[in-house]
């Protein structure tokens, strides 16, 4: 009960911090929009290439873009935590009886909410381009994004708490997120990749999320890929939260 109440308080606080940083709100929306306007048109000419999935350029690209949003959005959240460590805020909370789990969860919920809102905006903006969403597809898609947000931001917080400085945190996330992105098939479908690359991509949990996301928009509906994607992202979220919570409960010396 105290845990839930504390989580709610923390969620409110961090939402306020986010909303008071208008630049972050704007960047969050503008970045995916740039992909939509400046990158997705390139795919139109690729639709005819053998191996390109059915459904048209936007129905293939936009779902992947949402997964990318989740990956990049969540991996950057550690910067805010490091700033707070330096400002003494985390220490202030650790002296209070606040639930340690709530310190993580309140933040992660804020991250999830911002991701979901950004995703919705992106989906709406993509409709004029030719995206054909279904209500159920969108809802499940947002659930998928939420799970990625929870898992990735928890891991990002754990990394930020362990490293305690932007100087080591930034290289870490850039080094990790680029291969995760390339091996997920977000930019171009992995169906186009040679066999060995497809094999490596199978080790990347995000590639399952991308497959699931595409099937939610290409009319295939709830096939095995969707369930696989959801299950793997749920597992990622659980593992992420466990690791993150462990870090938050341990002493931050």
């Amino acid at each position: 009960m105290k845990m839930l109440k504390d989580t709610w308080l923390m969620f409110q606080r961090y939402l306020l911090v986010f909303l008071r940083n208008p630049a972050w709100v704007a960047i969050g929306v503008i970045q995916p929009l740039l992909y939509l306007v400046l990158f997705a048109p390139l795919l139109k000419s690729l639709v005819q290439v053998p191996g390109f999935p059915a459904g048209g350029a936007y129905n293939v690209f936009v779902p992947g873009l949402l997964i990318q949003l989740g990956l990049f959005g969540a991996s950057g959240v550690g910067f805010g935590l490091i700033a707070e460590l330096r400002a003494g805020v985390i220490e202030r909370f650790r002296v209070t009886p606040v639930s340690r789990f709530a310190l993580l969860l309140g933040r992660a919920l804020r991250d999830i909410l911002t991701l979901v809102v950004q995703s919705l905006i992106l989906l709406l903006l993509a409709i004029p381009f030719g995206l054909k969403p279904t209500v159920v597809g969108v809802i499940v898609m947002l659930g998928l994004v939420a799970l990625i947000g929870l898992g990735m931001s928890s891991l990002a917080y754990a990394a930020a708490l362990a490293l305690k400085s932007e100087d080591s945190y930034a290289p870490l996330i850039f080094t990790l997120s680029l291969p995760l992105l390339l091996l997920s098939g977000v930019l171009l479908p992995l169906d186009l990749a040679p066999g060995w690359l497809q094999d490596i991509a199978k080790a990347n949990p995000l590639s399952y999320a991308v497959n699931a996301a595409r099937d939610l928009f290409n009319g295939k509906g709830f096939d095995q890929a969707v369930f696989e994607g959801l299950a793997i992202m749920a597992a990622l979220a659980v593992v992420g939260v466990l690791i993150g919570a462990r870090r938050f409960t341990r002493a931050i010396a």
């Binding site: 105290k2 504390d6 308080l9 409110q12 606080r13 306020l16 911090v17 008071r20 940083n21 707070e84 330096r86 400002a87 003494g88 805020v89 220490e91 202030r92 909370f93 650790r94 002296v95 209070t96 009886p97 606040v98 002493a251 931050i252 010396a253």
Partner: protein
């Protein structure tokens, strides 16, 4: 309020274990301002972080506000407040909001937290800035807000880590008043500082720490007296050797040295020694050029215990 026995914190480093706090015994009484003085790196903040549940001790016993620090840290947290040197608020959020959130983390109702925040904003004179984001605050305002955050839940014991570091003299004087006011309302205050004047002016009792060990403990006056009592400086126009000779063996003089045409006398109590000095010199027919009474400072205490001056060490 605080009792520790052989409290110890050892950090692992590449060159082997380092004793940041090497067996500290403290006894802080309810309602006093307890000053923890020492140079940077002496172990002040590490001790403070252990006592405020932020850092588990490597070994030793400690009771804080009646609860065992190692076994019941959760209970300790409800009755202590902690103000770190780094600050405690987000730059984007108004101070009032931070205060209310802080209160609610201790289980206050929203109404109670809002009322308590208003009380603190009034008493800490933050009314002008309480509803602005904290990034617009002056150094003194920010520090007062930090104190307010630490006081939201009416703690019995408040830890202040270097409360005036970086403040201008005016804000510092104000902070001192604030701390005294807290003591007067019954809050026990445990503060660390590396400023001699601050420890001296503010503390009811002081512990001096160096290299992780307590080297002196007592009231500021007792500590200073324990060193050398007072210092009387006698200036003469002639024959300081003769003056030294005359005064050295007086029963009230502990130690005497001469440098140039002044003689320094270390005495137990300057105010009783000075008339006697005058009498001795007068009856010997030696005219006085000057006579001054100097109180030993806490630096003399530190110097005597560690062989270094705190001003240099800090």
């Amino acid at each position: 309020m605080i009792e520790t026995h052989n409290l110890r914190k050892t950090f692992k480093s590449r060159r082997g274990p380092v004793d940041a706090v090497a067996g500290v015994d403290l006894d802080v009484k309810k309602g006093e301002i307890f000053g923890f003085l020492g140079p940077n790196g002496a172990g002040k903040t590490t001790t403070l972080r252990m006592l405020s549940t932020l850092l588990p001790p490597t070994s030793g016993e400690a009771t804080v506000a009646g609860f065992d620090l190692r076994r019941e840290p959760a209970k300790v947290r409800y009755v202590i407040g902690y103000v770190s040197q780094e600050g405690s608020s987000a730059p984007e959020i108004p101070g009032r909001t931070e205060l209310v959130i802080q209160g609610r983390l201790y289980g206050m109702t929203k109404e109670r937290a809002i009322a308590r925040a208003a009380e603190l904003i009034e008493s800490l004179e933050l009314a002008d800035c309480a509803d602005r984001p904290t990034k617009t605050y002056s150094g003194g305002q920010k520090r007062r807000l930090d104190i307010g955050i630490g006081l939201m839940h009416l703690p019995q014991l408040l830890f202040l880590d270097e409360p005036t570091t970086g403040l201008d003299p005016q804000s510092r004087a104000r902070m001192w008043d604030e701390v005294r006011r807290l003591r007067d309302t019954g809050t026990t205050v445990f503060l660390t500082t590396h400023y001699l004047e601050e420890a001296d002016a503010l503390s009811d009792r002081i512990a001096i720490i160096d290299h992780g060990k307590i080297v002196a403990l007592g009231t500021p006056d007792a500590l200073k007296r324990q060193v050398a009592g007072d210092v009387v400086v006698v200036g003469t126009d002639q024959a300081s050797d003769r003056v030294l000779e005359l005064l050295r063996d007086q029963p009230f003089v502990r130690e005497a040295t001469t440098a140039g045409d002044v003689v320094r006398l270390y005495v137990d109590r300057g105010e009783t020694a000075m008339p006697q000095i005058i009498r001795v010199l007068d009856s010997a027919g030696i005219p006085l050029a000057s006579l001054s009474l100097n109180r030993p400072s806490l630096d003399d205490v530190f110097l005597r215990q560690t062989g270094r001056s705190l001003r240099e060490a800090a």
